[in-house]
């Protein structure tokens, strides 16, 4: 309770007005000129981390734009949302990057999408805009149609310049050699040693946030589900939690447990895939192929028990759409155990191999301070000793009711640690699935609550733990119960800036390996 008092005290000092409600993020409005100092104090006093930085366009004549900062207050299980109205004639604010280094990307994005500029931000390059629309047009503003297309310019991507004797620049992408998503890298090397890395994104930008505007929750659900293939459940769940948060409802117990099963099934096949991908990164075909066998079997289980190989179409706002019943789920648990046993025997082969050890150990060190400062999440941060997991820190759905579970952390900080991190998490995942199946109420009760008419102007926030870390969604509704703003901040968005800090001093062939040890989605970053 003392933490709550601390937050309340903080809000009463800094905000114009604030609301504290149960099961909702704290909310406060702060004047623009005090925002930086307010966040500075939040960081030092409450230990806040930046979860999401975005903007809103209310589409009205006066006080049209505002800045929205969502902070994670680790001491409480809640988030803190701070809204800052911006004067209509001066759409600028003091850059938050000196305070939270991970604000750099959102600041560039807000500049591209809303035309709101951060003063003194260290990086002023465009983030999302790659010549697909004019520089003086801002797609997320309300007066811009989501359907209008613009002439495409061929633009040269501004990259960091590294000069010096013997420095060679290796450009990679956006079309990569394997079956990978598009991203453009400029890798500067001296001889074989990596000096720096500059990554460019947004080749997958599909305008999801804009397309969701004006739709009802069920219509926008399709977009949330298809933002990323391998995070389908997590993104959908965050979306649904945000809608449920806005509507002020909670899901029935059966749905809450099934959602845990779905989220953990997704984590399981992703972790198996990541283990195979890391082995592929050093060309260890045996482990890669055996890993692909297990991943395929897990995906067939997904399809066999929930109808879809990527577990789409099951989670809906208010609950779940369907589930196979308790007996089939028990059968599923029995199918999972041997797969994990086979994984262990495959991994034993990998870890016992001296080349495997040599390539993975002490490669791509992510220091704990970098992980902390840049707001790293998920297994990557946990492998660097940062104990952060949304399932524990901000429990949702079944994770609130299920008995406590271990969140392992490691301290070696290298690729091997991230490899082992996934292995360490798999027993937790299996135990959670088993516990959720055991706790499923036998009596027939509804599996989905009806979403009431959503009050005009209400908003909600949802965060879930995907296989890559915390995925957050902010949703605000307009006067007709339709989505007015849909903002997503995914784990990949937070973790990508970690990778350039880990590559320096490694050899060039280790870059794909380091990249695979994080295994981040580009589609999630670009939206």
């Amino acid at each position: 309770m003392t933490h709550f008092n601390a937050v309340e005290g903080f809000l009463s000092i800094w905000t114009i007005d604030y609301h504290i409600e149960n099961d909702r993020p704290f909310f406060g409005r702060v004047e623009r000129d005090r925002l930086f100092c307010c966040l500075e104090s939040a960081k030092s006093e409450l230990g806040a981390r930046l979860s999401m930085l975005t903007a809103r366009d209310y589409g009205r004549m006066n006080d049209r734009f505002s800045l929205l900062v969502i902070l994670d207050i680790p001491a409480t299980t809640s988030y803190l949302a701070i809204e800052t109205p911006l004067p209509d004639d001066n759409l600028t604010y003091r850059s938050l990057t000196p305070l939270f280094p991970n604000a750099s990307w959102p600041e560039r994005e807000i500049r591209d999408m809303f035309g709101i500029t951060a003063c003194d931000t260290p990086d002023t390059r465009p983030f999302i805009r790659k010549g697909a629309w004019p520089a003086d047009l801002f797609p997320l503003r309300k007066d811009i149609s989501p359907h209008r297309a613009y002439p495409i310019e061929r633009v040269l991507l501004p990259t960091t310049v590294v000069e010096g004797e013997g420095v060679i620049e290796v450009p990679v992408g956006p079309i990569h050699a394997g079956i990978i998503e598009p991203g453009h890298f400029r890798i500067q090397v001296i001889g074989d040693t990596l000096l720096s890395l500059d990554a460019q994104f947004a080749f997958c930008h599909r305008g999801i946030e804009k397309l969701a505007e004006g739709r009802d929750p069920l219509g926008a659900l399709l977009l949330a589900e298809r933002q990323c293939g391998t995070c389908s459940v997590s993104n959908t769940l965050s979306f649904c939690l945000a809608v449920e948060n806005a509507a002020g409802i909670s899901v029935p117990p059966r749905a809450a447990y099934i959602r845990v099963i779905l989220a953990e099934l997704e984590r399981l096949y992703n972790h198996v895939n990541d283990i195979a991908a890391i082995a592929a990164g050093i060309g260890m075909a045996f482990v890669t192929q055996q890993g692909l066998v297990l991943k395929e079997e897990l995906q067939r289980i997904n399809a066999g028990f929930f109808g879809h190989r990527f577990l789409r179409n099951v989670v809906i706002p208010g609950g779940i759409r369907s589930y196979p019943g308790i007996d089939p789920l028990n059968e599923m648990v029995e199918l999972l155990a041997p797969i994990v046993r086979r994984l262990d025997s495959i991994v034993a082969v990998a870890i016992g191999n001296s080349i495997f050890q040599d390539r993975l150990e002490n490669t791509g060190i992510l220091t704990r301070s970098n992980a902390n400062e840049l707001g790293g999440v998920g297994p990557a941060a946990r492998a660097s000793g940062v104990s952060i997991d949304t399932r524990c820190d901000h429990p949702y759905d079944g994770y609130r009711i299920l008995p406590g579970f271990d969140i392992p952390t490691r301290h070696e900080c290298d690729v091997m640690a991230r490899f082992r991190m996934r292995l360490d998490e798999i027993p937790t995942t299996l135990a959670l699935i088993e516990a959720a199946v055991k706790s499923l109420p036998v009596v027939s009760s509804p599996i989905a609550a009806t979403i009431p008419i959503i009050a005009p102007g209400s908003w909600g926030f949802g965060a879930t733990e995907s296989a890559r870390g915390e995925n957050c969604v902010f949703i605000a509704f307009d006067a007709h119960g339709r989505i007015d703003r849909y903002a997503v901040r995914t784990a990949s968005y937070l973790n990508w800036p970690l990778i350039p800090t880990t590559v320096r001093g490694n050899i060039l062939p280790d870059f794909p390996l380091i990249n695979k040890s994080f295994e981040l989605c580009y589609a999630d970053v670009d939206r």
Binding site: A149, C204, R226, G229, V293, A303, G307, P324
Partner: protein
Amino acid sequence: MFENLMIAIRSGFLTGTPTRFKPHARNAHGSLEAVAANRCNGCGVCVKACPVNALSVRTTEDGMEFLFHPGRCVGCVRCIDACTKSVLRFIPGNSTFQLPGTPDQKKLLDLSRSGMTSTPIDDGALVSSPGDNKSSEECVSTNLENIKFPLSTEAYKTADIAVLRNSLHCRHLDVGSCNGCDNEMIALGGPHYDVQRLGIDFVASPRHADALTLTGPISRNSLVATYETFTATPKPRLVFAVGNCACSGGIFEGSYAVFDGASKVVPVTIRIPGCPPTPGDILNALTEGLKQLQTICDRE
């Protein structure tokens, strides 16, 4: 080494093996079929439930027909949930790749001359496409050397296809996909599908490739990359549009940030609908699809 061998022996022969357990959920992959056409009363709730206009109704002289557009369907199963008579179902393995010239819709149900009792629904309101209101994009680019998109269709000879059927090297091109299709293509390289046994491979450079497998609706940010990859591929260059986004733009159709499908930019040879298509569907299109393509070429 001994351990490796033991694991390999224990995992057994996997290629082409079906799922080892009885499925418990209704499948959302494959092709939508009317499994009980006689139960349909033409109420049209399925058409209304579809969020992507993949179903439509056409009135004929003596009744009406339900049409299905596989290239639009994202497999959200809302039509199946909406149907009170359990008429519809997804049939897996019944893959519906589309060759050039085949219509992008198929007849799902023909209610002509059947003893239909309920009043037919008004079809006018139901057939519309979300992309229709997208403004014209005649001038796609301001400084892409004045290239006209879509690029013109290229002719290929029967002999070319005959060669490719035995050795097809694909360059993968992700231009706005959610990585679902990409993951399914990675699965193709795994032991369950093992495309290399059929002479199919995914290569590292477009200059080594015979075909492009394209996923995603082609985001406008990656137009330059798409164009340059396509022109770097030696002729005859086939284009496989994998997944709904590549077929029609999918749920992103009409967005300011994407083209509505691959055919708006490059000539598409074979479309593989699905969200995402299963590895089996993709494999079927890469083998059976090419076989049928050769037959079409032979005829011409």
